[in-house]
Amino acid sequence: MGIGYAAIAIKAGMTPLETISMSFLVYAGAGQIIAASMVLSGATAMAIILTNFVVNLRYFVMSTCVLNKIEDSNTPLNILAAHVTVDESFAMFSLSEDSSIWTYLGIAITAWLSWCLGAGIGVVLLDLLPVIVTNSFNISLYALFVAILTPAVKESRQIALLVLVTAVLNIVLSQFLGNWSLIVSTLVGAAIGMYIVDDEYLLSGDA
């Protein structure tokens, strides 16, 4: 939902056009919210761009995973697929059994356009929505992540253990590393997983 982002962007003094074009061109959930908050607090353009680079570096990892799994694609389609890779599209595709490029583009472009649409709706409706409703929409992304992860956790104790270890690791590291902690925890977690998860429990990309 782009509504929460739009709320901060408008508060920061961004015009509706700037708010929506950022959703279209940057397309990064947390990155955009952080950028808009930094505009609000009067940060320099350079500081905002640098922070966005760090926060969005995780897309390198996600894009690598997605593109490694995709079948029957070519470079122009891969470039489009790369731009629409965010947490949601990566999560939904990488734990699904279908690996066609068209399935991925279907999921990811729908998510991209609804993110832009959400920003548009937010710009128009913002004053009308009570805080309780916008906060409740904030949970939707997490509900999606939990819903995608739960079947794998239910299926395998090894995956469940790995998820628990990574969650605790990220809670601890986020106290020290700030924006870097997400990508560090993801990679360190996967390295730990090499030892605690047997191959048979993994949905493999191209087995």
Partner: protein, 104 residues
């Protein structure tokens, strides 16, 4: 260049480059099995790290709001409720939780 235009275009470029690099090189790479396994583990660890501790900041004042949402979503997924329904039901249940919070 105007401040906002610089912020938007700058963020667009630094966000696109990390996404783009794998798209340009992935066809030429054939990863060994160990790297494949590492890449196949990343969805699980990335989701774990995205959820914790971020879910506790859904509401800046009431940390347990996000926790309730996560438990509801997990319980629905455990019962094999479809993905879209889980998201909608979790949002609806949270709105309901908010309407009873003031009574405690």
């Amino acid at each position: 260049m105007d401040y906002m235009a610089l912020v938007i275009l700058g963020c667009a470029v630094v966000t696109f480059i990390p996404r783009l690099i794998p798209a340009l090189f992935i066809d030429k790479l054939d990863f060994p099995p160990k790297v494949e396994k590492f890449l196949n583990l990343i969805p699980y660890t990335a989701l774990a790290a995205l959820i914790c501790p971020g879910v506790l900041t859904v509401d800046n004042q009431l940390w347990y709001i996000g926790l309730i949402g996560a438990i509801v979503a997990a319980a629905l997924a455990w019962k094999k409720v479809p993905l879209g329904a889980i998201v909608i039901l979790t949002v609806v249940i949270l709105i309901a939780v908010y309407s009873i919070v003031p009574f405690f």
